[in-house]
């Protein structure tokens, strides 16, 4: 079985993806560096979310989805026969657009992933729960109500809980699919600060609709349009001196 | 695990296949032996005679009478009840009445039978029947009519509620009264849902056994009056099975086959009604699509 150890950079070569007859991603090549934040931007339906979901193989669940190309995380081919999809997903966490806490207590939400790998000792779980919640900077808000139902939290808290829930599986990559689009500005700010912290140990890839957000948090930015990767580079370069005319039109707000 | 789930899902198919097989394997040869026409249209049911005769025509006729009459009673009152709850009833009362009716839908049929046997039958015998017999088609239909009321009320009210209220408001805006809007616009619009409810009610009335055998009398005679002891198909199975063996048993199974086929036909028409409804909805969508 393939293990994920060592560096956590992400590469995609010759990526093509189809939903039935629809060619959703067209010949994409990209190298995403480890321990940085990379933003995927572009208008709705450009394929950025689809592209993100390749890396924890969530597209496997979609009917009629077919793909070509070579995808590696830390050098490991993620579609290799020797790669267990569940091991991959433990190493590549994901945060969704809509917060999706499980209908159980805050504690049980965080302990879910560790319990999946067979950790049952109380003290050990307690420690993981506290550490994960602290890393998601939500510990102080919830430490007195760990046994309360997670659905009683506010949207912003729920989203940070979901981040903490991913962290409890000790992932090396975190994929975020528009994690703040359903949240208010204050919660959004908190999550952006959090990403700044987390990238010290994690490779973060974030899909965002919000270009200001990309400039605030991302080291690198990739611009997608109609299933193509139009431009990819340092965030500063993309936003100050885009090489492609389409990128310029998009970031200046002329379409999308 | 997947295999366990898959096998469980197969179980329904297996159960249906087994039921069908058991009934047909024992029932159809008997019908063939007796003669198809003689069995279905024969008018004498004398299974215990030296020269037995197995004609279920009287039961078919009785079943049809009871079903038709009870559905007329049930639909007539039930549909109008639903309309009253829909528009002509103080809003505050609707929810509690509905809840009560739903709860009453759970009354076991044997209790309806008991009610019929001790209240309806004597009443009809003493005050209504010209022959002095209380058992019979009228008693059975009244009891069944009351029994299927809750189902009809819920289904009709649901289909009325699912009609867009904009139709109603539109009609009022054109100067229709509240009553006109309800009867001329909303009721026709809810037609297919109500029709599905009718089919459901017919199915229950045809298949009901306990409430019927307690008030129908039970003689295998050809019904000529509403006040006469007769036997429905279901009653024939229940009453016969408690006291029979051999060929008689096969005759009962054959009766079951007839009943089974009848409910299958009802089932198919019920699903066809549902499909028809869905097609219409799809058609609407398409039309809207082309306009755009």
């Amino acid at each position: 079985m393939n293990e994920f150890i060592g560096s956590m950079d992400i590469t995609a070569k010759g990526c093509n993806l189809y939903y039935g007859d629809f060619h959703a991603l067209k010949d994409i090549n990209i190298e995403i560096p480890e321990k940085q934040v990379t933003a995927l931007i572009g208008p709705s339906g450009c394929g950025k979310s689809t592209f993100l979901k390749i890396f924890n193989r969530m597209n496997d669940l979609v009917e009629g989805c077919r793909m070509e190309g070579e995808y590696r995380i830390g050098g490991v081919d993620i579609f290799d026969k020797e790669t267990d999809v569940n091991v991959l997903r433990k190493n590549v966490g994901m945060v969704f657009q809509k917060p999706n806490p499980f209908p159980m207590s805050i504690y049980d939400n965080i302990a879910f992933a560790p319990r999946t790998v067979g950790i049952t000792k109380r003290s050990e779980l307690d420690e993981i729960v506290e550490r994960s919640l602290r890393r998601a900077s939500i510990w102080d808000e919830v430490k007195d109500r760990l046994r309360k139902n997670a659905l009683g939290m506010s949207g912003g808290q729920q989203q940070r809980l979901c981040i903490a829930r991913s962290l409890a599986a000790s992932p090396k990559v975190l994929l975020m699919d528009e994690p703040t689009s359903a949240l208010d500005p204050i919660s959004t700010g908190k999550i952006e600060e959090l990403m700044e912290e987390l990238k010290k140990d994690l490779t973060i890839v974030i899909v965002t609709h919000n270009m200001q957000q990309a400039t605030r948090i991302a080291d690198k930015t990739a611009f997608f349009l109609l299933g193509e990767l139009v431009e990819y580079g340092n965030t500063d370069d993309i936003f100050t001196s885009p090489r492609d005319e389409r990128t310029e039109r998009y970031i200046t707000g002329r379409f999308g | 695990m997947r295999v366990v789930f898959l096998f469980s899902a197969f179980f329904s198919i297996l159960a249906l296949a087994t039921i069908t097989m058991f009934l047909f394997v024992s029932g159809v040869p008997f019908i063939a032996k007796t003669g198809f026409a003689k069995f279905l249209f024969g008018s004498d049911w004398i299974p215990l005679a030296d020269n037995p005769s197995y004609g279920i025509f009287p039961m078919i006729v009785a079943s049809l009478y009871v079903t038709a009459l009870s559905v007329i009673i049930g639909i007539g009152i039930g549909l109008l009840t639903a309309i009253a709850l829909y528009k002509f009833c103080p809003k505050k009362l609707v929810a509690p009445i509905r809840q009560m009716i739903n709860l009453l839908a759970g009354i076991p049929s044997v209790i309806f039978g008991l009610f019929g046997m001790t209240i309806v039958v004597p009443f009809i015998r003493d005050y209504v029947s010209p022959t002095g017999v209380g058992y019979g088609i009228l008693s059975a239909s009244l009891v069944l009519g009351i029994m299927i009321l809750p189902t009809i009320v819920s289904v009709s009210l649901d289909s009325l509620n699912s009609v867009s209220n904009t139709y109603y408001e539109g009609a009022l805006a054109l100067g229709a009264t509240k009553e006109q809007a309800t009867f001329k616009i909303m009721l026709p619009a809810a037609k297919s849902g109500i029709l599905a409810g009718v089919v459901l009610a017919v199915g229950r009335a045809v298949g009901e056994t306990m409430a019927v055998i307690m008030v129908i009398g039970g003689s295998p005679e050809r019904p000529t009056s509403l006040f006469q002891s007769v036997r429905t198909l279901t009653a024939n199975i229940a009453m016969g099975a408690m006291e029979s063996s051999g060929d008689t048993l096969s005759a009962l199974i054959a009766t079951g086959v007839v009943l089974f086929v009848f409910t299958l036909i009802l089932n198919v028409s019920f699903s066809l009604l549902k499909i028809d409804k869905r097609d219409k909805a799809d058609g609407k969508k398409e039309k809207r699509g082309t306009k755009k």
Binding site: N86, F96, N149, L151 | R2, A84, V110, M210, M214
Partner: protein, 277 residues
């Protein structure tokens, strides 16, 4: 024309009154006639020819409910899981199972009884037995359990499944730890309602368990009776008082089950979803 429709309105209101009166009359009749005849000895006492009791029926009903539930609940839930979680509730197989369950649901109970009689009493040679009756009842309630469980599973938000998979959780664990607990409220309601149907049913039992009202069944293979069947027996054997009293017991039991179904379902929903939902 306007007058006609206004008149119709009053006809409708009259029908509403008739419906309510008719249904309430049934309940009132049972209560008025039955309560006076209820006694501790009637319900729990030992059966004697001159003083019949419901003890054999109580035992029989309990056993029928238990066996039918033990058989139908796991199979029903498992098959709903297959249909919803493994086939996305789409495709030919789902359609065929759908038609089969719908057809099963439409079969009159007396036909189930006939089937149970043919297979258990005759073909298996068990004679009249509680077990045969219970298995027949299990098949009868299976379609309802499958369908309501399907609906409950479909109402679980897709985001929860995605969230679990994204944490590297296997499908089976996702089903048992996330999906089923999230759908538990609806499923439990459906199970209690199905139990209500078992308790109410009598036509199936006439042909399968033998209506032996005077003996507490010693084994599951023994013939027996149930509360609903006792009503029929007493009514047909010149014991209207006992029949009415039994009807009170059955009515209260069934109404309680119906009320309980919604109440417990909501309670579970509240405890899984907190006050948020």
């Amino acid at each position: 024309m306007r007058k006609l429709y206004s008149a119709l309105k009053y006809v409708c209101i009259a029908c509403l009154a008739i419906s309510l009166i008719a249904l309430v009359a049934v309940v009132a009749y049972v209560l008025i006639n039955g309560i006076g005849n209820l006694s501790f000895n009637l319900v729990f006492g030992e059966y004697k020819p001159d003083a019949p009791t419901l003890l054999p029926a109580l035992v029989g009903t309990l056993e029928l409910v238990a066996i039918a539930a033990i058989i139908a609940v796991p199979i029903g839930i498992a098959s709903a899981i297959f249909l919803v979680e493994y086939t996305n509730n789409k495709g030919k197989f789902v359609k065929i199972v759908g038609i089969a369950t719908e057809t099963l649901a439409g079969i009159p109970s007396i036909v189930y009884g006939l089937f149970g009689y043919l297979i258990f009493v005759v073909a298996f040679g068990w004679g009249y037995s509680l077990l045969g009756g219970a298995i027949t009842l299990a098949i009868m309630i299976l379609p309802t359990i499958v369908r309501s469980t399907q609906e409950s599973l479909l109402s679980v938000q897709g985001g929860l499944r995605e969230g679990a998979y994204a944490l590297g959780t296997s499908k089976v664990r996702t089903i048992f730890k996330i999906v089923l607990p999230s759908a538990a409220g609806g499923i439990v309601t459906a199970i209690i309602l199905a139990i209500g149907r078992v308790v109410s049913e009598s036509a199936v039992l006439i042909l399968t368990i033998g209506m032996v009202v005077n003996k507490v069944p010693e084994t599951l293979m023994a013939p027996g009776t149930s509360l609903a069947l006792d009503i029929y027996y007493f009514a047909n054997h010149g014991r209207p008082d006992e029949a009415a009293a039994t009807a009170v017991v059955l009515l209260i039991l069934v109404m309680l089950l119906n009320l309980l179904a919604g109440w417990i379902g909501n309670l579970i929903k509240k405890s899984t979803y907190g006050d948020a939902k």
